[in-house]
């Protein structure tokens, strides 16, 4: 991650973690419990991935002596963000971390699914790889089970590995009641919530039927190539044994 360093503002704040969570675009992060960071067992192996590991660890815990020269200080600052992100990826898979992230999910901190027929379903952050520095954070929609680019550009600078590939699926696995209703028997495609639609400016209607699928039509007539693809999708669904 190449985030412009701002070591001067770091030293002006009392708590590094508090300062870090207030940074622009960091609203997806939850605050890691202090005792989780202090338990060295939880950090096993991270010293191999993070340069200046000891100094970065001290910076996160606000006990770094200010004797470093500026160049090293910038590197340590960067390492501390990387270390915090990697600890975050581990922490949100614990029971305590899942509970904290669930609370953020419930409050809608991660945004909504851009897909119209998902009806404003809340999303969860996900990484496409667990290796840091590869891909930015993405959003996973539990309703359509797909990943999307976050709409805000500031999130393009957040590393996806700080959330990991597992997190949203483990959350849904431990709390199956969060899985949105998918096997509804509605045969009518394309228009969830009846033909009324949502009034202008009302945004997204809640409770859209997941099984509804957008059907392209020209002056009311179905388009051939799309119908062919939908027919194939129906066959795949039948082959996978999906209850529709």
């Amino acid at each position: 991650m190449s985030v412009p360093s701002s070591s001067s503002s770091a030293s002006s704040t009392a708590y590094w973690i508090e300062w870090h969570s207030r940074l622009r675009g960091h609203e997806f992060f939850c605050e890691i419990d202090e005792d989780y960071i202090l338990d060295r067992f939880n950090l096993t192996g991270l010293n191999l991935d993070v340069p200046h590991y000891a100094a970065a660890y001290d910076l996160i815990n606000d006990c770094l002596e200010d004797t470093l020269d500026d160049a090293t200080r910038v590197e340590v600052d960067r390492s501390a963000r990387l270390l915090y992100g990697l600890i975050h990826a581990r922490f949100i898979l614990t029971q305590r971390g899942l509970a904290k992230m669930y609370e953020k999910y419930r409050l809608g901190h991660f945004g909504r699914c851009p897909r119209v027929l998902c009806g404003g379903q809340e999303t969860l952050p996900v990484g496409l790889t667990d290796t840091p520095g590869m891909k930015s954070v993405k959003l996973f929609c539990p309703r359509c089970e797909d990943v999307y680019t976050p709409p805000a550009r500031r999130h393009a600078a957040i590393d996806g590995a700080f959330f990991g590939t597992t997190f949203p699926h483990l959350l849904l696995h431990t709390m199956p009641e969060l899985v949105p209703r998918k096997a509804a028997g509605s045969g009518f495609e394309g228009v969830p919530g009846g033909a009324r639609g949502t009034p202008l400016g009302a945004g997204m209607g809640a409770g859209a039927d997941t099984l509804s699928r957008y059907v392209p039509k020209i002056f009311g007539f179905r388009v051939h190539h799309a119908s062919r693809e939908h027919h194939l999708q129906d066959k795949v669904a039948a082959a996978l044994g999906v209850q529709r």
Binding site: L128, D146, H169, T198, R228, D234, Q243
Partner: protein, 253 residues
Amino acid sequence: MSAWDPSSSSSSETNSENPSWIHWYCNLRGHNFFLAVPDDFIEDDFNLTGLSGVVKYYTAALEMILDLEPSEPTSVPMPDENMIRADAELLYSLIHQRYINTKQGLFHMAHRYQAGEFGRCPRLGCGNCAVLPVGRFDQTGMDTMKLYCPRCIDIYHPPDPVYVQIDGAFFGSSFPHMLFKTFPELLPSINRYFPKPPTHAQVPFDAADYWVYQPKIFGFRVHASAPDSPKMQWRRWRSGTRFLEHPSGPSYA
């Protein structure tokens, strides 16, 4: 009449001090997806058949759009200026919807689509496919403008909040499909695959071809009997989709 181009600040045919209503309207914030409908299209009464029944102050609204002097008030009392303005917008949305479905309108919109002016699909597995504006209904006041991705055959909310007040009737429900019927060569292929996993030096950030997401917990897929197992992957299936992995994933074959 050339397509309205947002990059050129003032087009040659209108002087910048006194632009026409149509150019003023298309230059408003959030209106940059609109085409400037040529005057001769609007002046042809045949193109406006039936619209006089939808718009209340039809004549006054049409005069406002065409920058004509208001005609002599007849027996009908002259309505409020704001009501005429609202009706002019309403009338323009319906004229715009008809115009972009004509050969000329489709041609201009196809050019803008090729330039990617309408944005990209937010779905990661679509590999930054360009999208087209679409309405869910042809009537005004029903729903806002959405974006149609031809790759996943799905519609999305525009990411930028300036578009949340744009009526879907400006584009109508048929427009993107009409465009791809007219210009089938613009339909994106989904059948291109990387011969081997791409390295990050080869492909730009997030550029990948069509793939379907496979959720995994510590590298393992969830069993189909579990309540949280994936059940919607079939809906992203397109002819030629062979593998439920993103290309940079470790188990991509």
